[in-house]
């Protein structure tokens, strides 16, 4: 095994039955290649089986395990211990749940509620373009797709929404906006007018203050702010 690191984790906890919040400190020795999800699992195994947190794919493809570590929203599954120590220059880490939805227990927030904002942006084709006859695919030049496919990598982890300085109440959020903007580019979507109504609606891009925090924190390294800017300028072709 490689070198062990002695970590101190200060985890924000919440008990929904007692309606009680507190910060609990855990000390643990772990290898540098472990992910933070592995570290929490080790805490469940060795110290506290009751500490609640969620994950799913554990390789940054599903966006379930977002938390705020030392002030930065990120996915626990892609934060390696050695990188965390390097990045934050400490072995003490504070772990808080995201604030984009109410906390259900400990680090678990009500993601289904947060998702309602994405649903409002209609993450699907509202009205599909006509398909070519005779069983062929629609021809789309790669140059056209290059302008927006990067935005389709979004996994709705809500790290951008967490970092966004615009209010969570009045802005659907960077990720929801991006889901809408993708379809404004997409030649397969015919309902452009309805898309523009979402984009420029009361909870649309006008609420964005251009802090670009979304791009800064995106675990998928998507330049979210770039797509929001294109949305503001209506540059879809």
């Amino acid at each position: 095994m490689g070198k062990l690191h002695s970590l101190t984790l200060k985890i924000h906890r919440y008990d929904p039955e007692q309606k009680k919040s507190w910060v609990q400190e855990y000390k643990i020795d772990v290898g540098g290649m472990l992910r933070f999800t592995d570290v929490l699992r080790k805490i469940n195994q060795e110290q506290d089986p009751g500490l609640a947190w969620i994950s799913s794919c554990e390789h940054a493809q599903c966006g379930s395990c977002g938390v705020v570590v030392n002030g930065k929203p990120l996915l626990m599954c892609e934060l390696l211990v050695q990188n965390a120590i390097r990045q934050f220059k400490t072995t003490t880490f504070s772990l808080k749940p995201l604030t984009i939805a109410p906390v259900l227990r400990d680090l678990i927030v009500d993601l289904p509620q947060a998702y309602k904002r994405v649903h409002k942006a209609k993450p699907y084709i509202i009205e599909p373009a006509e398909t070519p006859p005779e069983g062929d695919e629609l021809r789309i030049p790669p140059r056209v797709m290059e302008r927006y496919v990067e935005a389709t990598r979004c996994i709705n982890c809500f790290c951008c929404a967490e970092a966004c300085i615009s209010s969570h109440r009045h802005f659907l959020g960077p990720n929801a906006m991006m889901a809408n903007i993708v379809r404004l580019f997409d030649p397969k979507e015919k309902a452009k007018k309805e898309r523009l109504d979402i984009l420029y609606g009361d909870d649309g891009v006008a609420r964005c203050h251009t802090s670009e925090a979304c791009s800064f924190v995106c675990p998928k390294e998507i330049d979210v702010a770039h797509f929001i800017a294109l949305g503001k300028e209506a540059k879809f072709s």
Binding site: S56, R105, I140, P142
Partner: protein
């Protein structure tokens, strides 16, 4: 019995989908496309269907355009049959392969961003075992894809369509029991984690689409949720599961977490090296080399490691081989496969443009599942279905994959079978009676289970049992198996099950109690693990992904699917289901290629 445990709510719908991944939601969308006012409830364990395991599939979706001048659907059928080690059902192969192209057009039209070539048409790539001219020709470029996130494209598309068509979702919830009225399945008992409450969902038709069981093993590409829940659910109702011994090890898991490094890396020209920098696959599969089917490549890697030609990773103390993709162009690294090459950087600290990547076999997929016919109707025996109950996706086995699945055939199967199952459910809904009232005793199995969890006393540790079981399965029921190891595994699993009744939970809350769900998952894992071990023990031959060191050859006497049921823990009853040979038996033009054959690449 714990008095807090009761049915808190009753809901009714036409169709209940248990597991809202790609297969389940494809089924839902297909039903709604035909009849938009159908009421559908979809239950998912994750916080949004978008978080399902389907989203992690990388490489592609196999589909032959019937107008293709070079490739033909019949070649794809042949490759699937041969790849399965002559163990898949030919009626299912024919049906799925012939419908494949139309399904890709549906996906494209509904928003999936398939990668295009310069002409603006679908790009295609090749995967292991896909060939032209019945294996005589070169590799077939048959898989359409969305960069290296094809599964995400499929998930996003069917999830979006489900939202659009008003599927009602119950997130962060598990199905703990099926409800029956006589022989007919009329819904399920759902435990909603965030509320800490049980809901009885009545449905005219119930579809199981809970995905895989990868968490039975120590190193797996499967997400945390893949604990064989649907299979354990069916087993607990006394119904059979099929071919669970056929577990696929993907040859290239990233050393450490076991994350999948897509076969597309080899499809694009990457190759494997041992410690002596030898391209060892040339010895095992002289023709297909690194693009031989997954079971063969996994066995080859394990053999290299066993014979001392592996490399040890000091961080994880794991032996591995190398995957070399340094020579691939920047375009492949940065545009065609950015997620996968990014995994090596993020999770292994390696720059795959400059360094060799450490890989080893990792549990990826199970070919078996709830036995169904070609329409997805769940079977209780060879010739009897369970009315009202369906299964689809990785949790089902029709069987398209037989004993080994080819890359890109799983997205094809889950999506296309989803459509067929949806069609069948729609037909059934037309004539089906309303389920009526809650039958006496419904929910009691769930309450008994949860009461046991809360009332158990003792010093056993949930996680220790879970981790030890995963190590045991990897060691004794892994890539290579033998009688002695399998017997040991079975005995130890029985011990683990006994130990698990002495686990004391740390809290008694029902609300968002992750430990309670972990405890329930442990039961599911232990249940499917012992069925895998029994199936493997009984099959005294080697076939596809199931390899017995003590019986290295495939044998004709085992030309059947294993049906296994379990009344009491460890008491597994085995039965047989014949392999469908309808393409061969029809004696049409190319039928000779669909006989049993030796599998060489």
């Amino acid at each position: 019995m714990n008095s807090r445990l009761r049915i808190n709510a009753i809901r009714r719908c036409d169709a209940l989908i248990i597991g809202a991944g790609g297969a389940g939601l494809r089924t839902a969308v297909d039903i709604l496309a035909g009849k938009p006012d159908t009421t559908i409830i979809a239950v998912t364990k994750v916080s949004s269907p978008q978080k399902s395991h389907t989203t992690t599939a990388q490489g592609g979706f196999a589909a032959v355009n019937p107008k293709d001048p070079i490739d033909k659907p019949v070649y794809h059928m042949f490759d699937t049959w041969k790849g399965s080690d002559c163990s898949s059902d030919q009626n299912v192969i024919k049906k799925i392969v012939e419908a494949a192209w139309e399904q890709t057009l549906w996906l494209d039209n509904h928003g999936l961003h398939f990668t295009r070539n310069e002409e603006g048409r679908f790009s295609k790539r090749t995967f292991g075992g896909h060939t032209l001219e019945f294996g005589e020709g070169p590799s077939a470029f048959r898989a359409v894809f969305e960069a290296d996130r094809t599964g995400k494209g499929i998930m996003d598309t069917v999830w979006g369509e489900s939202l659009k068509r008003n599927v009602s979702f119950i997130n962060q919830s598990i199905a703990t029991e099926l409800i029956f009225k006589g022989e007919r399945c009329i819904g399920a008992i759902i435990f909603e984690e965030a509320k800490g409450e049980f809901t009885a969902v009545f449905a005219k038709a119930t579809v199981i689409s809970t995905g895989g069981l990868g968490q039975v093993y120590k190193i797996t590409t499967n997400c945390r949720q893949n604990t064989g829940d649907g299979l354990a659910l069916v087993l607990r109702e006394g119904l059979p599961v099929m071919d669970l011994e056929a577990v696929q090890f993907h040859p290239t898991g990233i050393v450490g977490p076991g994350i999948l490094a897509s076969e597309a890396l080899r499809g694009e020209g990457g190759f494997l090296l041992n410690k002596d920098m030898e391209r060892f696959m040339e010895r095992y599969a002289p023709k297909m080399k690194d693009l031989a089917p997954r079971d063969m490549v996994s066995r080859s890697i394990e053999t290299e490691i066993r014979e001392g030609r592996g490399v040890i990773n000091s961080d994880f103390n794991l032996p591995h081989v190398w995957l070399d993709i340094r020579h691939l162009s920047d375009y492949v690294h940065d545009v065609k496969l950015p997620e996968v090459t990014g995994f090596f950087k993020k999770f292994a600290g390696i720059d795959p443009k400059k360094e060799l990547c450490p890989v080893r076999p990792t549990v990826h997929y199970h070919m078996g599942g709830v036995p169904t016919n070609e329409f997805g109707e769940a079977q209780k025996s060879v010739d009897q279905i369970v009315p009202g109950l369906y299964a689809v996706g990785e949790s089902a086995s029709a069987s398209f994959q037989g004993f080994n699945r080819l890359g890109t055939n799983s997205l094809l199967e889950l999506f296309t079978m989803g459509k067929f199952v949806g069609d069948r459910v729609s037909e059934y809904l037309g004539d089906a009676d309303e389920p009526g009232d809650l039958p006496k005793g419904a929910g009691e199995k769930s309450f008994a289970l949860f009461s046991r969890y809360f009332e158990s006393k003792g010093g056993e540790n949930l996680w220790k049992i879970r981790e030890t079981m995963r190590e045991l399965m990897t060691e004794k029921v892994g890539v290579f198996r033998n009688e002695k190891d399998l017997n040991e595994a079975i005995n130890q699993l029985i011990e683990f099950k006994e130990k698990s009744s002495h686990i004391k939970l740390s809290g008694s809350s029902l609300i968002m109690n992750q430990e309670l769900v972990d405890r329930w998952e442990l039961d599911n894992l232990l249940d499917v693990a012992i069925v895998i071990a029994h199936g493997a023990k009984d099959r005294k031959e080697s076939r596809g992904a199931h390899t017995r060191e003590d019986y290295p050859e495939r044998k004709d006497e085992y030309n059947y699917h294993t049906l296994a049921s379990m009344v009491e823990y460890g008491k597994v009853t085995l039965d047989k289901r014949p392999i469908d040979m309808s393409i061969f038996e029809e004696k049409s033009k190319d039928y000779k290629h669909f006989d049993f054959m030796a599998r060489k690449y």
